[in-house]
Subunit: 406 residues, 2 copies
Amino acid sequence: MKKPFWKKEKNGSVTTPKGFVAGGIHAGIKKKKKKYDVSLTYSKTPCVAAGTFTTNRAKAWPVLYSMKAIHASKHHAILGTSGNANCLNGPIGKKAVDEITWEAAKYLDVLPQEVLLAQTGIIGVPFPITCVKRAMPKLVKRLSETGGHGAAKGILTTDLSSKEIALSLELGGKKVTIAACAKGAGMVHPNMATMLCFITTDAAITKSLLRRAVRHAADDTFNQMAIDNDMSTNDMVLCLANGEAGNPPIQKIGKDYWMFRETLEEVMRYIAHEMVTDGEGVTHVCRLRVSGAKKPTDAERAARQIANSMLFKTMLAGSNPNWGRIAAAVGASGVDFNPNNLSIWFGDAQVVNQGRLRVLNLPKARRILQKKEYTIDVVIGKGRGRADFITSDLTTKYVLINAAYS
Amino acid sequence: MKKPFWKKEKNGSVTTPKGFVAGGIHAGIKKKKKKYDVSLTYSKTPCVAAGTFTTNRAKAWPVLYSMKAIHASKHHAILGTSGNANCLNGPIGKKAVDEITWEAAKYLDVLPQEVLLAQTGIIGVPFPITCVKRAMPKLVKRLSETGGHGAAKGILTTDLSSKEIALSLELGGKKVTIAACAKGAGMVHPNMATMLCFITTDAAITKSLLRRAVRHAADDTFNQMAIDNDMSTNDMVLCLANGEAGNPPIQKIGKDYWMFRETLEEVMRYIAHEMVTDGEGVTHVCRLRVSGAKKPTDAERAARQIANSMLFKTMLAGSNPNWGRIAAAVGASGVDFNPNNLSIWFGDAQVVNQGRLRVLNLPKARRILQKKEYTIDVVIGKGRGRADFITSDLTTKYVLINAAYS
């Protein structure tokens, strides 16, 4: 493995890149007094922005809003709220979006469409507009260069902890930083609770290349947690780039673009991993690699079916190398596959070799499944299609959390 | 509702129809001594047979065997075993199928292909051929006209109880009986553990019409528990008809066919309902009706997505009318749907009316969700597509059972 060209920043947050200030406070959406429920990230220098949004047909109001607002040529801020998804709550939800973005824009002295909005929480409940509006002056006052962690807290729901990172790289002799904060939790897959990710960077890059980089990097990271079809109503990845690093602007797909893109992907990969690790009730994290499929789409389909399987997920919870459940899931996925070519590794313990069980390796496989993190390799044939997923176990705690949540 | 033309037989089992004998014993596949693990159902009169089989690409050996054997013109018996799925265990699995069907045929004095075979249990483990062969004389000796319940027990795995029924109807002045026993358990959907169903009838019917009736009735019952794509490696429905009732043979699609078909469907519906009720850890059974879709396939897709959703299933476990999870699942299914046309009833408590929450009905909805069984109606638009599913909750007990099973 080659040495990465990026560097992880200590205590990184969305305010680590130059020119960004941020903050979070408690406005009153969440009932628990101490919990932050609003989050603001701001750059005085105008930014180019890019985003990817849920494909769910029931899109929350902030998704409908930001999908439109993202087309503006420049942006200044990302407003986030948690505790109420502002989704499927009728016309009041639209009103809420309009009023709170307008209020934020007023205090930041920018245009409303220059404020992007993401929200998360419970669906189908009227949004408490007044408390958020009332909190806006305080939230804007709270903005600071060290406020990234506060902004990260303002979007959490059932998450156990904030997910934050900042990586820096050198482009044209200048230090460029890319940072992110996110909200995950839920099972991530197949019915993930809302996933939000805010990315800030001081890179100078065109809007179209930023859009391209964000979309492709998300495909290779967040969408390999298998989000697409099963996305929640509010999922969103937003990225602001303000150019404050002073690097030669990235205007074409060349070396600088690739270095930027790869670092961005690393940021997202870290966040995706943190999301799975912090999934509701998760005790084991599994990197699931499917290979040998006829086509990459076949590999993805098989991996998705495995990662989806409740029997597979409970098997991980029980640290039980019941490989038959993997084989059954591959069979159920409908991809072309001959059980006699199937090989399965739990970590480095091969349990199935060309369709034959290697009984002696089962105890070792069991020990590997007892670890907090491991890789499972599934070779389904002789093709070249591969897919690399990240998934987790299904525990009684998940059930308890989600039976109670409302 | 019109009065049904069929009658439920008391204490019904696969030996209720005329001419069938059956029995079950402990052969040694299961470790627990008292548990039956082999099952035999036999008719001296030759039967026509029909079956439906899993669409999983990783088909167990008994599936491959019975799919072929079903094409013989007549059959005499169904052999079932439990404790070992005889699946993905290499050539020894094929040998097991050949030897145990041959052994059964020998003691029954029929041809091997006249014995159909179904197996269930753990995947990927060599099948203990010897103990089953050794038990065969005893099993055949056990066959009796009251042995239906024993045969039903011989195919259970994690099921809490046998699932059996017999319904009778009159065709051309003769009493015709249709009976079934089944093995279900597992979550049924989306990753159902093996589902086996053996049906016996003394009706006189042609092989092709029996096949048609079985396939269509299964589509309207078992496949509405949403099995197809996610079927296990061993799923199978087998039906033997021996003609002993003496009814005028059903040779065309006329009134007799439809009465037979409807009664058969009722048998399967009962079994499907029992399977869901007896699902692993199930505490609530939900009849999920989706209507108003543009096409029936859209309704089915939406229903499947809802029934699949872990968030929905845990909501049922918690008796929580968190209707947003239903809306999000419909949105995620990708069917054409406008949230503003969405209406949702929990039992007779309407919680969403044309996209608007009816807050006052929430307490009533909560009380309904506390019942053991209820209906949830989801109207997604103004179309005429409908789907009627049966599903269950996801509980901590399910997780515990499946984390431990191996």
